[in-house]
Subunit: 213 residues, 2 copies
């Protein structure tokens, strides 16, 4: 990797490295790009209470039961995978897992902490034979030791082959937007948060319902 002249360039390189590691199915490479406990040793983290906000309501904190196979374009929420619960039951965010990182895959709930986040990538990689990210509309903003990246992820992917002679499952495309938050560390820019979500189209309903959020 050439030495970038500015923070913005370095952040772009880290962002690119993240997507390239995903494309290679490089779990260690992806793990290295996420912030760990040593990087956030002096950060202050609070798990918060399950119900806060203007009007405390029902606690929706329990993860719905789902299978690890994620249909396109409607992802399936998390369930107990073969490697144990994807969600930690302990709400406290302190610990050796670098608790402050968070990740949202398109259509998924929030994953928090290195355990949950990295397990999700292991799961996704195990179910993905081919994936390519075509990034557009990349924007980078750096303030102090934090960088914010937004981009559109045009994703082409294919799952494992069905039980016949084909080498790849069907290829599917997804239009996704992402906000990636990076933190400066002695080892370079590392991911603090990755939030990706589907861009949804007009369903052509006759209803005039609005989504005011």
């Amino acid at each position: 990797m050439t030495r970038a002249r500015t923070d913005v360039e370095q952040v772009e390189l880290a962002n690119t490295a993240f997507y390239e590691a995903l494309e290679r199915g490089d779990f260690d490479g992806v793990s290295d790009l996420w912030l760990d406990a040593a990087d956030l040793a002096d950060a202050e983290t609070y798990a918060g209470t399950p119900d806060t906000g203007a009007d405390p309501g029902a606690d929706a904190g329990t993860s719905p039961e789902v299978s690890p196979i994620i249909p396109v374009p409607v992802p399936v929420p998390l369930t107990d995978a073969d490697d144990g619960d994807l969600h930690d039951t302990d709400d406290t965010d302190h610990g050796s897992d670098g608790p402050a990182i968070s990740c949202v895959h398109p259509g998924w709930p929030v994953l928090t902490g290195r355990g949950e986040v990295l397990r999700s990538y292991a799961l996704i990689m195990a179910n993905t034979e081919y994936i390519q990210f075509f990034l557009t509309d990349l924007k980078v903003s750096v303030a102090g030791d934090t960088a914010l990246v937004t981009c559109t992820e045009n994703i082409l992917s294919g799952g494992p082959a069905p039980e016949d002679s084909e080498e790849l499952g069907p290829l599917v495309g997804q239009l996704v937007v992402a906000t990636n938050v990076f933190r400066r560390t002695p080892d370079g820019w590392k991911l603090w948060s990755h939030h990706a979500s589907p861009v949804l189209a007009d369903s052509g309903d006759d209803e005039d319902d609005e989504t005011p959020s």
Copy 2:
């Protein structure tokens, strides 16, 4: 507002204030909570090139044409609103609008800069008679002058009444997760990024498609 003893508490208060302003339909209150140019005067921002990443592909940067009425649960992408284009055509992120802020509403593409972001809230508020946010699973992480908040937004909302004697349109619920990034300023914690997305359920398809993103 009582003076919070820690950064985490102050960030929680700012996060709560944001949702309460939305519930009140308080456009000025929401505007005040977003970072502005003065707050980011020393930040470094780069718009980036439209196509970056491992494999440059088609430029998907153009916003699809959509109406301002946003069906639930499938939001309609942006279109020309009465107040002009919601997307700035200039890709450069510098300027007096505090260019570095970004916002993703559930199912929408990325909005960047105060102009686009605040116009979206004006649009949403104009089409929303009632909205309540029940926040759960709140987690706050503070590192230096930046704070990361994740939470589940359990949203209850209703649009304007149809042309009869009812006072509210039908109430609809949404399950949404959000990542809010705050930046410390002399005026308190301000929003740098808000990324909200729907939590999607298993569609019950017979297909074994996977969504590896």
